[in-house]
Amino acid sequence: MPLLEVENLRTSFHTRGGVVKAVNDVSFSLEAGETLGIVGESGSGKSVTCYSIMGLIPMPPGKIEGGTARFNGIDLLKCSVRELNRIRGKRISMIFQDPMTSLNPYLRISEQIMEPLLIHEKLTRAQALKRAIIALEEVGIQDADRRVHFYPHEFSGGMRQRVMIAMALIGHPEILIADEPTTALDVTVQAQILDLIRKRQRDLGTAVIFITHDLGVVAAFCDRVNVMYAGRIAESAKTTDIFAEPLHPYNAALQRSIPALQSKDAELFTIAGLPPDLARLPKGCSFAPRCNRAAPECSVRETKLQEMKPGHATSCTRIQLGEIASLKSSVCKS
């Protein structure tokens, strides 16, 4: 039985410009200890998916329209805040994109890092402080017993992200949701942070949901990948399959867009057009207007994620119908 099972999650935002369907019928599952990547461009709904699970969607304007997210038999989408608070920070925790803003500037690191322990484990302050210092040492902060009393502004960005990781993992959660944890950091620090997350994951056996738009990170880091587009999962497969055998034109195009894999002389490949307005989604496949393999039926038929091979699902209608056999060639062409 999977650790976390999300089914038919639909989250939308009711704005003046209409109902923005940020997450539209998303289902996936997460096994204990595995790393699941969620990739997609900005606005594809990858963060909103995780925010919905964590109960972080501001309501209003946000609304979870339907679906379930079962964790240990508890539906995180429907349980009370009190129940959710017993899980958040203790059994499921999260690290955020920008370490510069995700720590409270007015509180010492010690206060913030001790909070989950004081709340969830009812430790005394002295015990919690000891654990906080150990947690900081475990994420590679030197002089932790002294630095634990610093304020966030006295740390660099990479150090703050380490603090965030220490804070998220201090209660030894079963799931860690990492929402683009390296996007705001510079490249050298990115690698350190990724290594750190992987090391801590191995030590603690935590399952990780890794949200990113960086396919390189996905390749190095994740066991399985969900590629999201316009609030839906376009393709879901093991990492090796995602790269070796893309089954959705969007995934294939994404991989062609990686600058490092393109020849230096040629013009950089980009996906033409813009992601659709989530308040006015086109009929049929939402990627169809930008898709180089689109057929007339793509803008008519509703898409549905369907497993083509064991563990490899796509929402591309034409592949499901067998009209396209493989997208491999289009990746390697350039």
Partner: protein, 366 residues
Amino acid sequence: MTADAPEITSVAIPPSLDEAQKGTSLWKDAWRRLRRNKLAIIGLINFVLITLFCLIGPYFVPYQSGEQARSLQSCRPMEPIYARIQERKGKIVRTDFIPESKILDENAFITVSKEQRDAGLAQLKRGEPLKAGRYTYQISARKHLLGTDALGRDLLVRMMHGGRISIGVGLAATAVSILIGVVYGAVSGYLGGNLDIVMMRIVDILYTIPFTIFVILLMVFLPPSIFLLFMAIGAVEWLTMARIVRGEISALKHREFVEAAVSLGLGRLHIIFRHLIPNVLGSVIVYSTLTVPQVMLLEAVLSFLGLGVQPPMSSWGVLIDDGAKTIETTPWLLLFPAAIFSLTLFSLNFLGDGLRDALDPKSSKD
């Protein structure tokens, strides 16, 4: 200390950290910036001195606040005062005090020739007693530094006692307004939604009630007391505070550190009081230093209208009111209370401005 957590005994915690190691907080930075603002520091020192003057001053003045001297009405500041001693059979039966301005009205001087009068005055001024009929006149050690009012009460000591009330009302009503305003604003701002709308419309409605009419109504239906004054002022002053805090909190609540706090499973109240309110304390402090003078002004206005502090208690507002009534004959009764009041307001305003600059995180970090 370590016995109950055996798995982590290997890490030693240093017994104490000295200040330098603890890192500089935003508050320390703010204090450093404030110290560089001369005007604000002068304001701070000035306010402290005025407060001390009102608190401990009365112990150094030999008069009581309500003490009246019938014969010493409306003395000028520092006016020499003469004692008129009435003796019967070698015993002093009565001592009255006559200010210099009234001494020539005394029988002893009215009934004699001009030369005798001048000689007598000169004798008194030298400190020698002057006998006239059954009275002995003598220069007195009594001095009223700032003069006396129409009832012969010492202005200096009344100003000190009045200051206690004025500053006390200012601080207490501000404290009340902070307490209500911050909690109300923070709850409204953080919880948001319909609750926020309802709570803020209540504030809007309360804003529309004209303050003086509100106070007059209170005074009509309830016996006037200083407690009522606190209530009336507190009931009005928290509105702005609530708006300020609500605005800041609703901007802060979408910041990532609040999301992080939510994702750690912290309760709503915990987030409001532990994470959000410390973040708005800067503006709260700044606004408070501007509220104190506002409240003092309100109290003065009410007292000026006869709705505030009731006699025999005094406040600066009462004193200014009294002084204004007799501005032609005894201008010092207006001048001194108005001066100390203005000085206090200026000090607090400068301090408030300085604090606003010092606590602004956008100001340079040097």
